[in-house]
Subunit: 407 residues, 2 copies
């Protein structure tokens, strides 16, 4: 019943968006300030980075979301507003500017920043650009895209999606924009994900939904294991779809969570494929684990391994590196039971059976591993649990981007 639709964060009823270049970035073409607003106050829930060094916007957003309701999201790129003495003050001024031009109370604004850490964020360009940003707000897919562009840093493609589904006979929509190259990701490529929905749902159930979802979506995504200081995932529910309010863990809640998981995992695949310098998406699917946590640890360990990542870049079927990553994953497993396959659009390559390497043709391996998406399929043969993790290859360009980023 769930259908992918156009429109991004503007697809659900009640939301408008825009993105402009205000001058935080020197590059005059790249948009650097985004705004999403709702016609009504929305139930809201967020999850944040677990890094102890937290961006100032996170401290301000936490205060604003505390009562469970917000009405707008303002985001800048080009500067993370982190490790600056006046960071909280600047983040609060950004919210006040939204109030000045939209009338939405500053305490109902979610604020986020992404870019370089430890460089003062000047309020001037934001103050100068806010009027144009607010005047241009529209409820169409084009303007969702403008917002998606404005939050990009080293991203090379915009990341948006929207779905339509049904709750108690009512059509409900959910839209998302995001940026960054991982939950565990470069500090200049903070993960930011903003989801809108017109579902009628309480803040508590919304929080429950995203806190559960993140364990099998963003937390299973890794570009380089560097947990950012500014990661923020935020969902706003306007309630305008008119479904019976979701205030308990019922069938409607399950349907809602499925829709949520569809958009978040779609974003995970897009984020991993666009990982800094990446040429290939890696999807690691583990089955046969004793527990859910064992499955997650095993899958995550494989996509985190620099050696596996470099091997995928080289289209080299070195299954021993997958075995090695499984061995130090921290999962309860028996190396002598493990099966490993590589799979892509070009075919399937069995690599390990019961912990031992199996022979294969090098040409066949090269052909299969040269595709854009490589699946690493692992059977631990221990139990019934499964997990999927997303990552990307490690390339010369990753080193180039991160050796040169700031200067």
């Amino acid at each position: 019943m769930l259908e992918m639709i156009a429109g991004g964060v503007c697809a659900p009823k009640g939301f408008a968006a825009n993105g402009v270049h205000c001058g935080i970035r020197k590059n005059k073409v790249k948009k650097d300030l985004a705004l999403i607003t709702s016609d009504v106050r929305c139930a809201a829930a967020c999850v944040y980075t677990q890094n102890l060094v937290k961006g100032a916007p996170i401290l301000v957003t936490k205060e604003h979301v505390k009562d469970g309701y917000v009405q707008a999201v303002v985001v800048n790129s080009g500067n993370a507003n982190t490790c600056n003495a006046n960071g909280v003050e600047i983040a609060e001024e950004m919210c006040a500017l939204v109030e000045k031009y939209t009338g939405i109370k500053k305490e109902d604004v979610v604020v986020a920043s992404t870019g370089v850490i430890g460089m003062e964020l000047k309020i001037d360009p934001i103050a100068g650009g806010m009027e144009e940003l607010v005047k241009g707000l529209k409820s169409d897919g084009e303007h969702s895209s403008f917002a998606a562009e404005a939050i990009m840093t080293t991203d090379t493609v915009k990341k948006e999606a929207a779905v339509s589904f049904t709750l108690g006979g009512k059509e409900v929509k959910m839209g998302v924009i995001c940026k960054g190259v991982g939950m565990i990701c470069p500090n200049m490529a903070t993960l930011l994900m903003f989801i809108t929905t017109d579902a009628n749902i309480t803040p508590a159930m919304l929080q429950k939904a995203i806190s559960a979802d993140v364990k099998d979506s963003l937390n299973m995504l890794s570009v380089d294991r560097d947990t950012s200081t500014n990661d923020t995932m935020c969902i706003l529910a306007s309630g305008l779809a008119g479904n019976a309010v979701i205030d308990e863990d019922n069938e409607d809640f399950k349907t809602f969570c499925e829709a949520l998981h569809t958009v978040t995992t779609e974003m995970c695949r897009k984020l991993a494929a666009d990982g800094e310098g990446a040429t290939r998406l890696i999807e690691c699917r583990v089955r046969g684990a004793k527990t859910k946590e064992d499955a997650r640890l095993a899958a995550k360990s494989v996509v985190n391994s620099n050696l596996v990542k470099a091997m995928i870049f080289g289209a080299d079927a070195n299954g021993g590196r997958v075995m090695c990553a499984l061995g130090y994953a921290g999962a309860d497993l028996d190396p002598m039971k493990i099966d490993v396959d590589f799979r892509s659009a070009a075919g399937l390559l069995p690599a390990y059976r019961q912990g031992s390497a199996v022979a294969f043709s090098e040409e066949e391996a090269k052909r299969i591993l040269s595709e854009k998406e490589i699946d690493i399929e692992i059977n631990l043969n221990e139990g019934e649990y499964t997990a999927t993790a997303w990552g990307c290859d490690l390339t010369y360009d990753y080193v180039k981007i991160n050796g040169d980023y700031r200067t």
Copy 2:
């Protein structure tokens, strides 16, 4: 009183070594089989990888070291003898070949292998090369170097050292050879470290010494966080120095541990500097931590960060990445108290004070960070504990080496 001397593993009384090319590697110049022997049975102690996927040689070595005494070490490079159905059998045959040509009992032989995982190790070249290897054994520095060469994989320089010190008026020596690019390291670059000493010490105290030492030496070394399946650190003590036997935690034991730490940390610096593709050595020194473990977690997190490593490659003084790595280290710290400095032979660059970035000259930063060794000095300003970790920069060549390794 401790003095660096020449001679490697042949410096202590009673040890001989050699290394030859036997044909495991196709490259006909590169030595691939090494042997260290002792005139007498030696007290012995080992520490191994914690990876659940363990190389077959480790299983055999554990059996042989169980009684606390061994008399020889045989090592091949070019093949890790791991994830092979007949791995244990081959490792046992290697020990039997040592017995055949030296008369040393096969149960008194430590065996290790390093190279590709999941490729059968043929016994033929080893059987063919053993006679030449044994005939060439000598107790001089040249032959210690031959052994050091024979265990190298992607290493670009030999790694050996020896020290002389005094226990109760007797001169005692300790020598070491090692290879690999980290305790947490590429699976084809397994860390192997073999230490010889003529100190008179019981197996139990020897185990106590290396188990304690490894926490502040090899376990603080990281090239890429990929814990190998074959890491082995082994120490042999012949007792021929004639000092009063060390059988308890006394002053002599402390002196012995200091000598041990001198050679192991010297090796850590050499291993990190020669990390795959590395152009710079990173030494991260943390002080002011609440506990020893907090200090270790913080230092290790910084040298493990791909972003810090890529930044050092680019000679870019982005202290925010150090702050970010400290924030997710898992250590008990307050971001607002942290000071960060970069230091090299070219000078000192303060980067963060009390959690906030400090201004600096870009030219000055470039000059300081362009040296071969970069120290990252961190004061957590929380307590009295310190720790040091070693790593290297992340470079194009790391990606090249690991994208191309097997094929």
